[in-house]
C-alpha cells in the first residue's frame, strides 16, 4: 500500500483516504445499478415470471439477464435528452444531481469493516474516521436532504402530477423523520454514544445483544420509516404510478431519469447499511469475538445486501398505502410507538440496568 502511495506521490494517509472514497462510492454505485437487476428479476420470481433475460452481448452472453444493465445504460445514453418547454431549465437539470449526491454520501460515516493496525497506523474502514463528531447525525441530516431532489424534480417539471408527487414526498418525509429520529435517539441513549463505531462496539458479537433484540419496537419504527424516507413501496407516494402517472419523474427521460433511478437505489443501499449498523451489529460476525478484517467486511456486506433485498421483497408483497393511511400511520402509530420505546429505555436506564 505504501509503495502504491509513493508511486502516486501521495502520503499513505491521503492515499488511503482517496482509495476509500473511490472504492466505497463506486461499490455503492455498482451495487445500486446491480440492484435494479435484482429488483426486476426478484419481482419476476415472486410473481412466477422469468424477468429480463433477452439482452445479450454479441447475441450470446446473457449472464442470467445481467447484460440487460448494459443494454439499459447504452439506451439511456443515446436517448434524446428532453426538457419540457415550460420547465425551469436550471432546476430541471440540477434536480437529479441533488437527488443522487445525498443518497450516495450518506454512506460516508458507516464503518463497513473492522479497523486494523498496519505499521503502527490504525486504518478505519469507513470513509469518515470515527470521532468526527457528526456520527450518526450525519446520515440523518443527509437523508433529510434527499427530499430536495424529489421536490425540485417535481416542481421544475411544471407538471401537475409531478407537483402532487413532490408534495406527497415532502409531507411523508417530514412526518416520518420524527419517528425515525426518536427511534435512533433511544439507541444513542442505550449506547451512550452516537458514533457508529461506538454503536457497533456496544452491540458486541453475540446476536442476542444486538439492538434488534434489545429494542424490537425501535427496529419496527426505524425500518418502517426507512421505507418512507427512501420513497419505496409501500410508501412510494412520490411516484405512485397508478395514481399520478409517474409522480416526480414524469417528465424525466434519458440519463436524467437513470440518475434519479440510481439515486433511489443508492438511497436504498445507504438505508440498509444504516439498518445493519444500528440494529444488527454492523460488521460484527455472530459468535466470533475477533473476526479478521475480510470476514467483518463480508459480514457487513451480507447484512446490508440482505436488507436491500428485504426492500425489494416488501415492494412486491405489499400494496401502496393511501395518503391518509400514510399520515395516520406516521403520526398516530409510529410517533407514539417510538415515544414509548424512548421512554421505556429511559426508565430502564434510570433503574440502573
Amino acid at each position: 500500500m505504501d509503495k502504491l502511495a509513493s508511486m502516486l506521490h501521495m502520503t499513505p494517509a491521503i492515499f488511503w483516504m482517496v482509495a476509500k472514497v473511490v472504492i466505497v462510492f463506486s461499490a455503492i454505485m455498482l451495487l445500486a445499478s446491480v440492484w435494479t437487476w435484482v429488483e426486476r428479476r426478484g419481482s419476476a420470481m415472486i410473481q412466477d415470471r422469468i424477468g429480463p433475460n433477452r439482452a445479450a452481448i454479441f447475441g450470446k452472453i446473457r449472464l442470467i439477464g445481467l447484460s440487460q444493465l448494459l443494454a439499459d445504460g447504452i439506451k439511456f445514453f443515446f436517448k434524446e435528452d428532453l426538457v419540457p418547454d415550460d420547465a425551469n431549465k436550471g432546476l430541471f437539470w440540477l434536480a437529479p444531481f441533488l437527488a443522487f449526491v445525498p443518497a450516495l454520501i450518506g454512506f460516508a460515516v458507516i464503518p463497513f469493516g473492522k479497523s486494523f493496525v498496519s505499521g503502527g497506523v490504525t486504518y478505519h474502514l469507513s470513509v469518515l474516521d470515527p470521532g468526527n463528531g457528526m456520527g450518526l447525525l450525519y446520515p440523518m441530516a443527509i437523508g433529510g436532504m434527499a427530499v430536495y431532489g424529489v421536490l425540485l424534480a417535481a416542481w421544475s417539471s411544471n407538471n401537475k402530477w409531478s407537483i402532487l408527487g413532490g408534495m406527497r414526498a415532502s409531507a411523508a418525509m417530514v412526518s416520518y423523520e420524527i419517528g425515525m429520529s426518536l427511534a435512533v435517539v433511544s439507541i444513542f441513549m442505550t449506547t451512550g454514544g452516537y458514533d457508529p463505531a461506538d454503536v457497533i462496539k456496544a452491540q458486541g458479537h453475540l446476536p442476542w445483544a444486538w439492538n434488534i433484540v434489545r429494542q424490537p419496537l425501535g427496529f419496527i419504527v426505524f425500518f418502517t420509516c426507512m421505507y418512507a424516507e427512501t420513497n419505496r413501496l409501500p410508501f412510494d407516494f412520490a411516484e405512485g404510478e397508478s395514481e399520478i402517472v409517474a409522480g416526480f419523474n414524469t417528465e424525466y427521460g434519458s440519463m436524467k431519469f437513470s440518475l434519479l433511478a440510481l439515486a433511489e437505489y443508492s438511497h436504498l443501499m445507504t438505508a440498509s447499511a444504516l439498518v445493519a449498523t444500528l440494529f444488527f451489529g454492523g460488521w460484527q460476525v455472530p459468535f466470533v469475538q475477533n473476526p479478521t478484517v475480510m470476514l467483518s467486511v463480508a459480514s457487513f456486506l451480507l447484512k446490508m445486501l440482505f436488507f436491500a433485498w428485504v426492500f425489494v421483497w416488501v415492494r412486491w408483497t405489499l400494496p401502496r398505502f393511501r395518503y391518509d393511511q400514510l399520515m395516520h400511520l406516521g403520526w398516530k402509530v409510529m410517533l407514539p410507538m417510538s415515544m414509548v420505546n424512548l421512554v421505556f429505555h429511559a426508565w430502564r436506564m434510570s433503574q440502573g440496568h
Binding site: 426478484g42 419476476a44 420470481m45 415472486i46 410473481q47 412466477d48 415470471r49 422469468i50 419496527i220 421483497w313 416488501v314 412486491w316 408483497t317 405489499l318
Partner: protein
Amino acid sequence: MGVLVKKVELSWLDRTYVWPVMKGMAITFEHFIKQLFTPTSKRYTIQYPDMKKEIPEGYRGLHELKRFEDGAIKCVACFMCQEACPARCISIEAEEFSDLNITQGFEEKRPAIFKIDMLRCIYCGMCEEACPKDAIWLRKEYEVAAYDRLSMQYGKWDLMNTYAQADGKDRISQDPTPSVPRRTIVM
C-alpha cells in the same frame, strides 16, 4: 340500490399489521424460492420466439384456400363467403374456364382474384361455415404481420400457400393443368 359492505372484524393479531405483513412476506418468499429452483423450461412463462404455445383444436387462425391433389383450387367462386363475412374483408372476382378433360364441355367457375384484407379480418370463421365446398379453412397460424398495409392484402396465391410449408406441400403460383376429372373426386 345500495350494496351492503360486510365489515370483517380483525383479530388483535391482524390489527397489529406486523403479523399479516409477515404472512404476506412468507407467501411471496415461497413463490420466489419455488421459481428460483425451477428450471426455465418448466416455468409458466412461454418464451415466445423460442417456445410456442400449443394451439387448441378449433382455433381460428390464418386462412388457407384448399386445393385438390393436383393443385387446382377447390373454390368455385360462389361468393358465399363474401356474403357471410361480417367484416367485408373478402373480395372475389370469378372467371370461367373450360377444359375438355375435366369439365366435359361445360363451363366452370373459379376465382380469378380471391383477396382477403387481413387487417380487416376478425377471424370469426363465418367464411369457413358458409363455404359449400369446404374450400376455405381457418387454421392454426397466428403470426400475421407485415411492414406495410399492402402486404396484408392476401391474394389467391398467398392464401393457397399459407400452410404449404407446414404441410410439406409445394408452393404453387399458377393454376395447374388438371389431370383428374373433377367430378369424380370425392371431397
